[in-house]
Subunit: 567 residues, 2 copies
């Protein structure tokens, strides 16, 4: 078992440490003189960071903080690299000074001796056990940590945003809290980019294998049909291919957004932060959930062989799926988006003009009453027609929620009662963002002959498969008629047929090496069956022809020499 | 690694062997004097059984069949217990006699010596390698088998349905082929029952843990809210709880159907076979797909801790998910259902009265034009209101498909083009069956005070969550208006609140022991956190406090003693 090292120790010190602290600790971390991890989540608290129970109590008599785990549920649990590798951690704990609880703050704590790696006195460390998959996160020592009154110097509290003085006074610095959002936007932006990477890997394997695998289709002994030619395979697979491209483009745009946010933060302009935050939270949630489902769908699209580890898909799924939970549980994030939407709806009602990805809500007059003018299947090829119905759907769902909430005894009660509907409204908003960014990408120059035409087809597939999947939303909000929905579906079928000849080229374009794909089914040369066969013989069980245990177990069974127990 | 034994060897001989063959082989299999497996699937062919490539060529000069694997893709691949344990197999191969290929037949073939378990001459055997999960099917030696001209006596062909004579003549017996359907109905019936078992296990874990886990909801240091109280948790979890009950009841009914089919087969009445076959194929497909997704959803509903093996959920998923592929790929099965639906639509048009689960299609006059009379949310509590819209939706989707197919140049071309829509029509039909059987169950006496009332709520939740999820179907076929859809959603919210107080009791009612559940999160006593903590320490990584590899790898890194490679 290899041991991996958690990656958030350095960003935490960069974001929340003073310049002095950064100067002291970062070089040691960079040079691996220490190994650090980010210890936030506890056994009893994940999403609700404010509920963490570990305490850091200031003792003015020694100028130290006393780190302590007062309950079992306060045990740090999950941090990557915590159990076995880390010598230090940024530990999040309730800061208590002068008898008052000031809430969660970060502290740099040494956990293990730098001489012999043994845990320091009062520190309990361990691994939290096996996880999903046979590889995946089993090579990461997600750990448990408990403190029994462990003392650290006062200057190991991360003091960029607030400090505790020598006397134990709690004071805020003048650094605005909003600066922390920059890190969050950065991390979530990389998660969206990773979603596209993981999804495109799975799609590449499934498309290539579907071009090799043949089944049925010959009544007279002639060649069978490539499964990629079946409409059922296309209707499941091509929307995922389109999604891989969609997430790639929205990921690129998020990268720009991060730069933009940072520039505005430096200029102390915090006005676009809530929108940027909602947008990245929503995109993280929607792209990771869809990607996890899509990897598993690609596995199923490879039939039985997709269940073999040599297909690469089981481990791709097991290693990917935590993305739905870490860095913000996907449902909790969608509720944050929904809160932002409700706020925007009320601001729009008050005449305020929304900006960025939420700007469309300013067009409320038109979007609340418009009816799609689509009259033929091909009318759905028009990006403006797509954008209009996605905007109208998202806005109307949000406005419906806002109206229903306003009927409740209180805003909070209404929000809670309506939360399943709010999730759907948030998803509608985020899907609109992805569709819009895909459309905008295609307004740019795209090099290579015919490339833009192929991407336009994928863009239409991405949008129309969502329209078909969420047809209930579009019909019930009155943006689209049943007939227009049927036309969209008709066009989808035609687009699948048009994408089919270029499907393999469209996954080859991701430019993954066989080594990186790690899949006998997704081989570039298509030589799948010899590879499957060869891979099987590498299994340790095949080291002997007669299996271990034959003499002890199988032979007595077969020779009827098993003794019955006397019990 | 333990070795498991495939279970279809005996049923194959029972179903396809002559009485004499049964008398000879079954006692040996029952007494484990031999270990048998069912060798059908090949590297190149799964769903398309008629495309299998292994040959069994009759040699009249020696009265033997010559078993041979003519290509790499003809290697038997996947049979459970084949690689290491089995001494014999029922091998499916193309029967060739007098120079003619008579298609796929079963043959009893000895694979390994009964003296020392070594493979017989000409037989190549091995394991096909690691699979999804860390346990799951890794304890089953799914195997590969190749024949190099292996000879077996003629009387090892399974000869109940057809024979090869001493001279090599191929003759059919008078046993009707339809008898084989009985086994298929039996196997798929057990798969539906297993879906309910697997789903109820996952739901039991998720419901119990959701009652223990608390998060947010306290602004002033008071107790936090059980996550089971959140509407978002309820709206994801309670439909799965309802599904577990729904599948249980439809599984019980399928058991009855199997008895009924058998009685009719014995009376040589084959009239209901196509309907029974479509029904079991559809139920196998819909319940296993939904259960696989639901187990993973339950895992996500347990947050980060669901990713730990100690939650029991990762392995439950990995061991369950092949059910979507084995015994008929779920998409292929739905297409069979769709074919049956299209046939029924044309028979109904010709005035024939359909029977069994398809009887509703006889009511075509009413169902094609009816409009739901639902006017208040509570109107949806009426089972007749539910049944009507599910029947209308299923019928209209089938009729739409039939009409669109009729516009195509040929029936086959139309079926292929429309296949994605046909899948949806088939799902609508199968969901109707499940809803109907739930409703019928509740017309029986149900012992225990208040039990029926709870089940009625679950029945409504099961039907209405489907109505909400597939709202596009209901709206676009005009069975339901947008307002009625919104009323259904409103009622769902109320039903969740009503089920909440009994949710834990409703999973306790499955009566699973902690040992069987195998989940620290799903413990009956709710003592989750100490169990999680205790379980972690059993991990082998925790046998030492300083991890193996510290001296060799971590220490040189930390002490900056790593030598740079010269390359």
């Amino acid at each position: 078992m290899s041991i991996s090292i958690g990656g958030m120790f350095v960003p935490a010190i960069k974001g929340q440490g003073t310049e002095e602290q950064q100067k002291k600790w970062l070089p040691m971390a960079y040079k691996f003189q220490i190994i650090g991890c980010y210890a936030q989540t506890e056994l009893g608290h994940g999403s609700n960071v404010q509920g963490l129970e570990t305490t850091a109590t200031f003792d003015p008599s020694t100028d130290e903080f006393v780190m302590h785990s007062p309950t079992l549920t306060s045990s740090k649990w999950w941090p990557g690299g915590l159990g076995k590798a880390s010598t230090h951690a940024v530990v999040y704990a309730r800061l208590i000074t002068e008898g008052k609880d000031y809430g969660i703050h970060g502290f740099i704590v040494q956990l293990r001796s730098l001489d012999d790696h043994s845990p320091l006195p009062g520190v309990t460390l361990g691994d939290i056990g096996g996880k999903f998959g046979s590889g995946a996160y089993n090579s990461m020592d997600n750990g448990v940590l408990r403190f029994d009154h462990v003392r650290i110097p006062r200057d190991q509290m991360l003091m960029r945003l607030s400090q505790v003085t020598r006397e134990g006074k709690y004071v805020h610095s003048d650094v605005p809290k909003q600066l922390l959002y920059g890190t969050m936007v950065y991390v979530r932006q990389t998660i969206v980019a990773d979603a596209s990477k993981a999804l495109s890997r799975a799609v590449c394997i499934a498309v290539r294998y579907s071009a090799i695998r043949k089944q049925f289709g010959s009544q007279d002994g002639g060649p069978e049909t490539q499964v990629l030619n079946y409409k059922t395979q296309q209707s499941r697979l091509f929307p995922l291919l389109a999604s891989a491209y969609a997430y790639r483009f929205v990921g690129q745009w998020l990268k720009w957004l991060y730069t933009d946010v940072n520039q505005k933060l430096e200029a102390k302009d915090y006005s676009t932060l809530p929108e940027a935050h909602a947008c990245t939270a929503g995109l993280k949630s929607v792209t990771t959930s869809a990607t996890a489902d899509a990897i598993e769908e690609c596995r199923k699209l490879c039939g039985g062989h997709g269940y073999l580890n040599s297909s690469g898909l089981p481990e791709l799924f097991a290693v990917y799926v935590p993305a739905c939970t870490y860095e913000g549980d996907n449902v909790v994030l969608l509720l944050q988006v929904a809160r932002f939407l409700m706020k925007t709806v009320s601001q729009v009602a008050a005449g305020k003009q929304p900006v960025g990805t939420i700007a469309y809500m300013g067009n409320i007059q038109h979007l609340m009453q418009c009816k799609s003018a689509v009259n033929t299947a091909e009318d759905w090829l028009n990006p403006a027609a797509i954008k209009e119905v996605f905007e109208a759907r998202a806005l109307r769902m949000a406005v419906n929620c806002a109206q229903n909430i306003s009927k409740a005894p209180s805003q909070e009660e209404g929000f809670s009662e309506l939360s399943p509907d709010l999730l759907e409204a948030a998803v509608a908003h985020v899907q609109l963002i992805i569709v819009t960014k895909f459309i905008e990408k295609l307004q740019e120059d795209i090099p290579g002959p015919g490339v833009k035409e192929q991407l336009q087809k994928l863009c239409s597939i991405y949008a129309l498969h969502l329209l078909h999947k969420h047809l209930g939303d579009f019909l019930s909000t009155g943006c689209v008629t049943a007939r227009q929905g049927a036309l969209a579906n008709e066009l989808l079928g035609k687009l699948y047929a048009q994408v089919r000849p270029n499907a393999v080229a469209l996954v080859d374009a991701f430019d993954y090496t066989d080594h990186y794909l790690g899949s006998v089914l997704g081989r570039y040369d298509g030589d799948v069956y010899p590879a499957l066969y060869e891979e099987a013989w590498k299994d340790p069980l095949n080291e002997t022809v007669v299996p271990d245990g034959y003499q002890e177990h199988l032979r007595p069974l077969l020779k009827q020499q098993l003794k019955l127990s006397r019990l």
